[in-house]
Symmetry: C2
Subunit: 367 residues, 2 copies
Amino acid sequence: MLYELLKSKDAQFYVQHSGNNNFYYATKFRIPNSAFYFVGIDGTDLLIVPEMEKSRASRESRVKEIASFTDLGFHERLREVKDPNSALAQTLIELLKTHKAKKILVPPDFPSFLTLEFLKWFEVEVVENPFLNMRAVKSSEEIEKIRDTSKAILKAFDYALKLLERVRDCDELRNEIETFLFRMGYLAQDTIVSSGKLSADPHCVGHGEIQEHVIIDVFPKSRRHHYYSDFTRTVILDDCPEIEEMLDAVIEAQEKAISMVREGVTAKEVHHMVCDVLEERGYHTLRKKYREGFIHSTGHGVGLDVHEEPRIYENDEKLKTGMVFTIEPGLYYRKWGGVRVEDVVVVKRHGCEVLTEFPKWIDLRRG
Amino acid sequence: MLYELLKSKDAQFYVQHSGNNNFYYATKFRIPNSAFYFVGIDGTDLLIVPEMEKSRASRESRVKEIASFTDLGFHERLREVKDPNSALAQTLIELLKTHKAKKILVPPDFPSFLTLEFLKWFEVEVVENPFLNMRAVKSSEEIEKIRDTSKAILKAFDYALKLLERVRDCDELRNEIETFLFRMGYLAQDTIVSSGKLSADPHCVGHGEIQEHVIIDVFPKSRRHHYYSDFTRTVILDDCPEIEEMLDAVIEAQEKAISMVREGVTAKEVHHMVCDVLEERGYHTLRKKYREGFIHSTGHGVGLDVHEEPRIYENDEKLKTGMVFTIEPGLYYRKWGGVRVEDVVVVKRHGCEVLTEFPKWIDLRRG
């Protein structure tokens, strides 16, 4: 695919910098320092790392050819020009010149200090990051990692439901859930534990006493393999007829949406199914420009980032086998509060698999 | 200071993008989305955020003037040009033109897609990030935050020493320490719990059984205020004469180095004191190009990043009141393993304050 991109742009190289998930996805190498991945139309497929990371790179990266900045003459240049940024730019420029590059493609967030130096020698064009779209369709190995994080979430959720017998403070419950996940090897931050009228704001993480119902939305990533999952349930703790009715409608909308997910269906068909069900049940949606009711999109891709491609909204994008995303309808009214139900699904040829299989209607009322 | 920079470069604007600690330091506003901070020679001091973050920005940021992308016409432009990156670039360019900008300064990691668009209208120069140097000297508020994280580390360390009575596996002890800190509100990752000959590699986090001695190096950040601290002790668990002697030398070197820290002393004077003591005691140092012995620098600044300015190495930099950094001599020999002792200090006019006051010689041998 990169070859096609280079050809269509009449460019000889694509250069990816480190410090982001696109670099990791492309190279399978995680590094805190500065590193680069070069793909050339001449077949170049080269990872450039600091000298001290070279042996780890050859063990861990999927890229076969590895060079260090030292190999490429960085230190000689640094002695001459003193400034590390200039020495780095000159080192990369020399490499590109050796490969007879005339035009270079870089991603939008590529560092400006390099682009300005490259411009002295080459044409430079910013392109949408080619790995972003590749990342939308997961390999079976990636799906297993998201499944692993999903299983950890469900364990934490079982634990949270037990805690609800005695913990009645949003911040305390959040800390217990996140610490439970952390101990198991998963990092959850900004977990939403939101109750009462505050829960009408889908962005509020929640504070204060847990009242008649609580939204728990957990999205940890594995500290080992770095893949996220994302899961929400709304728990009923005491009578609240409006909330119960909203939750029933959201569950119906979510189940109907999940049942139509398969290869070839468009994102907007799934989103409109959610809107249709909720509107039929008498609720408002953003589709009709309401600011209460269902006021966000139906879902988002999950992987190395908690929000990535594809978006499940009003877009025409066709679902492909191997895409992994959330289906998370919700309803939010300032008068009553909010409810949301969220699962992660994998698109299959004739349907989808739910990675976060768990009861949807959770009622902890006593007696 | 930014005004001086703009004047010296004959530039009208400095533009800082979000997604890094320099943006947070400059604005005191933390945001996961794209946002910008504009400083103009005409007095402009403007934070630009998404519409939905505007009210939070006015509550939390120290920047007084706040505009949303919507206020600046982003959505009209998006309808015209379709591409969000182009619409964003045009929105920012229009703002700069209104302020009669001719030359713009940006930091090295500024996104290339904006720089290439800016270049169509303005001169663009990459400058070293002006906030990096400002961050080296801490305000009293920042020092209190680093003190807070330091106190949490010492609590976790007391807990770790108790655990050492029964836990004898490096990975298990790391997980217990990190989970303890997490529950208290601090995120520690890659905590070093390293024992035996593996500890001769200062970059190895450590695995396997805890043997005669163990290096514990913890560097959490607060999940609330985001400031780091960094602390290391080497614990003796059983007889190991070479390690004990190395540890004694490192403690002497560290205490002598700490005793000379004060305003006006240079970084390299502190570093050479460490080397002098260790060489007098018969150990090797990197100063004489040895690859065993004391093979790293004496310390690094600590703040919003765990490694930041100033570096305490062979550099001429003069220490200033309010600088916060580590003093962490170590000795590493493949034959015996490694030892290290690390504290965080604040530079004062006539000395320094240690934020991580804790016994240095820790001997848990029984009987």
